[in-house]
Amino acid sequence: MVYLKDVVTLEVNRDACTGCGMCLEVCPHAVLALEDRRVRIRNRDACMECGACARNCPVGAVSVAAGVGCAAAVINGLLNRQAPSCGCSIDPKNASAGKVGGCC
């Protein structure tokens, strides 16, 4: 299953890459590949912007505007004029979040 075309914010910097392969290991949708020991985006539209690759890249060669693809969270964000929050947990810093029931 593939979601919308050409929307994700994933970027790789092949020059910075050391080829450690960590980003490939953590990606749940096999978005990335190694080519000549450097990272390459193999299947961009399969990316769900979870941010695992960027967070586990020791040299900062992968970047993505990470977030959770959840409509209820986006609606909560709009209602509260804040970042998306799915309301799946009670956030002590943002008690008003979670007007729309989340799902995770």
Binding site: Y3, L4, M48, E49, N56, S63
Partner: protein
């Protein structure tokens, strides 16, 4: 942590190189109460260097299974948690593997039930009772909490090695290289599904490509449906009496006759719309037209509306029936599209950018269809 809130765009931007040290330094000092020995699933204790460590079994009891079922239906779900900290599965020793998980009871149970006959340490992070993947997305299953938990649990004195097995779906919150720098422990990302852990361990901590891919099979989608239904039926319960009242009022006949004729139709249409968006759309997801979830829900809702109208055998020569039918022809796809769109949060492959793109057209369409349908429904009462 490494999430910066950008107020103008409502976006969490991830800076890959930023250090989590500032947060963790203050946090590591936070003391941690050892997990309670009186929790119902604890079946004993092993002696650790700093006191008793609760022991659990890979065998789930009827109570554990009933708890999972209840959580799937949203009963007590926000408080379905185990105490965070270190647990012993079986009789682990200094060489046993350390498996990290979240303190959502269902996550904890899926992990231990996957390891019959094995001895291991289970390090449970405090994710406020949220599962690994969702908590990693929020950062509560994260570098800071992991490092804090390692220190506070006394793990270093329980094991001779410095290796942790963290679920792959915890990686959005955990930075393996920072964990190593801050705690001395090496993070090994284990398989996505707990049931693959024995094979992963036996292969010397090697995961096959299949273990690293997140699927969204029919079964995986089906178990999520009760939660979708419960969420949808709560506002519906408020709406039904109102809908019946409106159906009874106006019209040519007496209140009760109206209620039976039009009220029953409206109630059926509403429930069918919910069924379309919260049950059929998730189940039929890969076979429905379009990529956007709202498109899929719209298609199911429209099909259901057409089916209902043709099956009901309504006399469409009457102006009231025509308006009533038209109202639900608008509202059913709108409701179904909204519910299907909300299923993005439960799905395993939607991105935030994609959901935003989808919502830009879908949300106005859904609200528009709902409100205009409602207006037509009200107008129909005057015929």
């Amino acid at each position: 942590m490494k999430w910066r809130q950008n107020d103008s765009s409502n976006e969490a931007v991830l800076f890959p190189m930023a250090s989590p040290q500032a947060l963790a330094a203050a946090d590591i000092a936070r003391p941690m109460r050892p997990p309670g020995l009186d929790q119902p699933f604890v079946n004993g204790a092993v002696e650790g260097p700093a006191g008793k460590i609760p022991r659990v079994s890979a065998k789930l009891t009827r109570r554990d299974r009933w708890g999972s079922i209840k959580a799937r239906w949203g009963v007590g779900r926000m408080h379905y948690a185990v105490d965070p900290g270190l647990y012993a599965l079986g009789s682990p020793d200094a060489g046993s593997p350390v498996l990290v998980t979240a303190n959502y009871k269902m996550s904890f149970d899926r992990l231990r039930e996957a390891l019959p006959g094995r001895n291991a340490w289970i390090l449970v992070l405090n994710t406020e009772g949220i599962n690994v993947w969702c908590a990693a997305g929020k950062g509560t299953f994260g570098t800071g909490e992991l490092v804090r938990c390692i220190a506070a649990s006394g793990l270093k004195d329980c094991v001779g090695h410095r290796d942790l097995i963290v679920p792959q779906l915890g990686a959005p919150g955990v930075s393996a290289h920072w964990v190593r720098k801050m705690s001395g422990f090496t993070v090994h990302y284990g398989p996505i599904r707990a049931r693959d852990i024995p094979a992963y361990l036996d292969a010397g901590r090697r995961a096959t490509p299949g273990m690293r891919r997140k699927t969204f099979s029919l079964t995986e989608r089906a178990v999520l449906i009760p939660m979708e239904l419960v969420a949808a039926l709560k506002p519906t319960a408020l709406l039904v009496p109102l809908l019946l009242l409106v159906s009874g009022l106006g019209g040519r006949d007496a209140f009760v006759r109206n209620l039976i004729h039009d009220g029953l139709f409206s109630l059926t249409a509403l429930l069918l719309a919910i069924l379309s968006g919260a049950v059929l759309s998730p189940l039929l997801l890969p076979w429905l037209p379009g990529r956007a979830f709202a498109t899929k829900g719209l298609a199911v809702g429209l099909a259901a509306a057409v089916a209902l109208l043709s099956a009901w055998g309504m006399d469409l020569n009457s102006g009231r029936n025509l308006l009533l039918g038209g109202a639900w022809l608008l509202m059913m796809p709108g409701i179904s599209a909204f519910l299907a769109m909300n299923f993005t949060g439960a799905s395993t492959y939607t991105s935030l950018s994609g959901v935003r793109r989808e919502m830009r057209w879908a949300l106005p369409l859904e609200i528009g269809a709902g409100l205009s349908g409602l207006a037509v429904l009200l107008v129909s009462r005057f015929f």
